[in-house]
Symmetry: C2
Subunit: 261 residues, 2 copies
C-alpha cells in the first residue's frame, strides 16, 4: 500500500488543500481509505445533456454522484469547500479527442459554460474489500470489452471494466460486498473467463499485460467509470477535461455510508 509522502494527511479536506497548493500530485489510489473517490469529466454545456443521458442509460459504468451548474466550479454535495479546478492532483486535457496536456491546475482553462460530472469509482470499494479480508491482487487491470453500451446522441462505444483476480471464495464475498455500493459501480458485471466478454488479458488499457490467470484464482470484473470519458474522447469533443488516471477526486463521503445524498 503506497502512502506516498502524505502520511501526515488524515482528513479529506487536508488532502484537497494539499492538492490545491500543488503539494500533492501523486495518485489517490489507496489514499484516505474509506472515503468515496470520484472520476471527473468536465465538458461544455452543449454536450452535457447527451452525456448525462448516456450516464443514465449506462448506470453501472457511470453512476453520477454530482453534477455542477454551468460555470460553477464549486462542489456542493460531495465535499465541503472544494474547487473542481484545483482540488485534484492531476488533470488530463483533451481537445478534439486528443490528449493535449496534463495539468495540476485548470483554473485558467475554466469557462462559464463548463459542467463538471463526478462519477463513482471502484477505488471506493477497495478499502471495504480489504477490511472484509478479501485478498486483492496487487494491481487492478483495465480492459475494453465487447459489451456494447447504450448510445446517447453522438456518444457510443463498448463497456470498459476493471478486473481483479482473487480466490473463488473471495469472489463470492466481493460480489456480496460491492452490491452494497450501487452508486460506485455496484456488483460485478462478469466473473470468470475473460474471452466471454472479448478481453485478451495480455492487452490491458492500463496495468501490466497478464499472460494467464493461475487456476486457483478467478477474475472478477466491474464496470469502470472511465467508460464515459472514453466515449467522449471517441466522439472527439472540442474540449473535455478529466482526472489523470489514478488521480481521482476525494470526497468527504464515507464509503460505509452508502446512502449518498
Amino acid at each position: 500500500m503506497n502512502t506516498g509522502n502524505h502520511a501526515h494527511i488524515t482528513n479529506t479536506r487536508q488532502a484537497r488543500t494539499a492538492m490545491r497548493s500543488g503539494q500533492w500530485t501523486i495518485p489517490t489510489v489507496y489514499q484516505l481509505p474509506g472515503y468515496v473517490q470520484a472520476n471527473l469529466a468536465i465538458v461544455p454545456k452543449s454536450i452535457a445533456y447527451d452525456l448525462l443521458v448516456y450516464c443514465q442509460r449506462n448506470r453501472s459504468a457511470c453512476p453520477v454522484l454530482e453534477i455542477t451548474d454551468p460555470g460553477d466550479p464549486i462542489i456542493r454535495q460531495l465535499a465541503d469547500n472544494a474547487d473542481i479546478r484545483t482540488d485534484l492532483p492531476k488533470y488530463n486535457v483533451y481537445r478534439n479527442g486528443e490528449l493535449t496536456e496534463q495539468r495540476e491546475d485548470i483554473t485558467d482553462l475554466w469557462r462559464d459554460d463548463l459542467v463538471a460530472f463526478l462519477i463513482g469509482s471502484s477505488l471506493t470499494f477497495d478499502e471495504p474489500l480489504r477490511r472484509a479480508g478479501v485478498n486483492l491482487s496487487p494491481q487492478v487491470w483495465v480492459y475494453r470489452t465487447n459489451i456494447p453500451t447504450t448510445p446517447s446522441g453522438s456518444l457510443h462505444g463498448s463497456l470498459i471494466v476493471t478486473m481483479r483476480v482473487m480466490t473463488p471464495s473471495d469472489a463470492i464475498v466481493a460480489t456480496q460486498l460491492t452490491s452494497r455500493f450501487p452508486f460506485n459501480h455496484g456488483s460485478p458485471v462478469h466473473v470468470g473467463d475473460p474471452a466471454l466478454i472479448g478481453i485478451n488479458t495480455s492487452q490491458p488499457m492500463f496495468g501490466e499485460p497478464l499472460e494467464s490467470i493461475s487456476p486457483e484464482y478467478i477474475a472478477v470484473y466491474w464496470a469502470c467509470g472511465v467508460t464515459p470519458q472514453q466515449v467522449a474522447i471517441d466522439a472527439r469533443l472540442p474540449l473535455m477535461i478529466t482526472h489523470a488516471p489514478g488521480h481521482a477526486f476525494i470526497t468527504d463521503m464515507t464509503a460505509d455510508r452508502i446512502c449518498l445524498p
Copy 2:
C-alpha cells in the same frame, strides 16, 4: 388485494396491450406482482436537462430508470414493444401547473420535442415485502415533508414521501429488504415520529387522513417518485404529462433482478 377485472392477464405485455386498447383503465397497484413499476413524467426537451439534473441531485426520490430520445415514444430498455403514449391506463395532463385533463391515451398530444422520464416507484417493492412476510398496512399514505430537495434550474421544493405503518420488527426487515432496491427509492428516509420531518398525519396528499398511529406500530417513510412531478407542477411548466396516481407504467423487469440495465 385488488385484482380488478384483469385476473386473466398474467404477463406484462398482455397488460400493456390491454391498456393500449382501452380495456384496462384501473390502477396498477398490486397488479402484475413482482414486476418493476415506474412513474412517468413527459416534458418538453427545453426543460429536460434541468429535470434530469434535478433527478440526479435527488436520487432517492427520482431514480431515473429510462429516458427516451426527444420525439421517440418507444420504450427501449425497460420493456419490449411499449409505446409510452398508449401503454399506461391513465394519464394526467398539466398545463402551466394546472391539471387540465385526465386521459387514457395521449397520442394526439405527442410532439417531436417531448421526452419521457420513467422513474422508479415504491409499488415495486410492496410485493417483495409481502413475500417476506411483512404485514403492510392496507393503505399507503403520501405526505409532503419539510425536507428540502436540492434545486436544479427552476425546479425546487420539499421531499414527498410514502408512509407505511408496521410493527417494529417488520420495520427492520423492510429496511433491510428495500436497501436491495436502490433504483426504486432504496432504504427508508425516516422511521418513527412524523413530526420530525414536518408531517401532520391527518393531512396526506393521497390516502385517508390518519389521526394517530397505534403505539404497537411504527411509521416508515420512503422517498416518493411523485416528488419530481410536484416540483415540475410548482414550476408551472407549459406542458407536463404524468401517469395518473396509482396508474403506473408496468415494465418487463422483475423486481428480484435488481441490476437494472
